[in-house]
Subunit: 221 residues, 2 copies
């Protein structure tokens, strides 16, 4: 099967949270990891590593940790949309339903990619600002996005999650992640139960892009 | 021109720092921004915006700020590799030469994309850990990577930079970025002066991916 063209892959990359327990073929997984390796990073240092978790006992333990985080998150999220317009409430409840499925079936996830990063190998330019830092992510999440796009190309369901980061100590112990490495993302991967990738819902460029000054609409014509 | 397939785009996306001053066609720029819009984000909130800077006076001012940051960074970097093996020293000096070119010609950059993010719209799961946070980046840098890959598809040179983040107050003033939005990346875009995109140098997957436990090599066969 020829890989999809770039724009088709990007525009049909959905968060797929319902995954079959069937194993992921090694050749597909290898291509997903190679795609991650191609991503840019500050100074080309590639200050990230990825743990490819397939061990059933470890996955079961990660599933317990994930489910506890998920249900706390989902409860808060549901309360937050109680007074939202019906369309938003319905879309959110649909997403939460898929999230419940992932949490309930986490132990059966065939492959989980846990992306780690080393802050000591990064020039984090916003570290001293009076706001939360994000710039370390500039050398990790491009690799994560490449992995997601490669999953799309390989017909594998996947979703970018960060809930396990809140329980980093437990994940560190389980997978023997040494200091000073931290965890940046966990990506469950598997064959989709339902339709898998397809149309996505996003804001239009006109709501996301400004011309030269904040809130001045960008127009490409 | 048909867009390249996904893997070809990813595996030939270089950091292109030598850009011609020629304008970037609007249709290409529109496709780059649309590609960014397709990226995943936590809760599909898309807590990012992008400033498309083309104003000459603003670019000149940003160039002054960038050049000061760059020369400080490059000086530190050169000292850091004084005792490195010759191959690494030569590769680094080549990168620094291209970086000098970008800094010296920043004011002539045809388009600069400045990606901003709103931490108040993000669930930053590593905010309370005893290490620097990166998770906010999970809702910004996938969009940045999509934009870079789209530049590759459009034949546009580009490079992910974060040096301007260190001078966020100056950038905020110049572009009227409101609180609590912060800046995550600045991407100069233009036609390459030299060959542009092409072969890249990265670590192999065997040095980046582990199986189930830290430092246990992952093998895909």
């Amino acid at each position: 099967m020829a890989p999809p063209d770039l724009y088709e892959a990007m525009s049909t990359l959905r968060a797929v949270r319902r995954l079959k327990p069937d194993p992921v073929p090694d050749d597909k997984l290898g291509r997903v990891l190679e795609a991650a390796s191609w991503a840019p990073s500050g100074g080309n240092v590639q200050p990230w590593r990825v743990l490819v978790v397939r061990d059933r006992a470890k996955m079961a333990r990660l599933g317990e940790v994930y489910a506890a985080q998920w249900h706390a998150y989902a409860d808060g999220h549901l309360k937050g949309i109680a007074d939202a317009p019906e369309a938003i409430r319905i879309a959110t409840e649909k997403m939460l339903g898929a999230g419940d499925y992932l949490a309930d079936h986490f132990a059966q996830t065939p492959v989980l990619l846990i992306f780690c990063f080393n802050p000591k190998s990064m020039a984090i330019t916003d570290a001293r600002l009076d706001r939360i830092s994000v710039v370390g992510g500039a050398s990790v999440y491009p690799a994560v996005q490449n992995a997601l796009l490669a999953c799309r190309a390989e017909g594998l369901g996947c979703v970018l999650t960060t809930l396990l980061c809140a329980e980093e100590a437990a994940v560190r112990d389980l997978l023997s992640i040494p200091e000073p490495w931290g965890t940046a993302a966990a990506i469950p991967i598997g064959t989709p139960v339902l339709g898998g990738h397809g149309p996505i819902s996003r804001r239009p460029v006109s709501k996301l892009a400004f011309a030269d000054t904040w809130a001045e609409p960008f127009r490409s014509e």
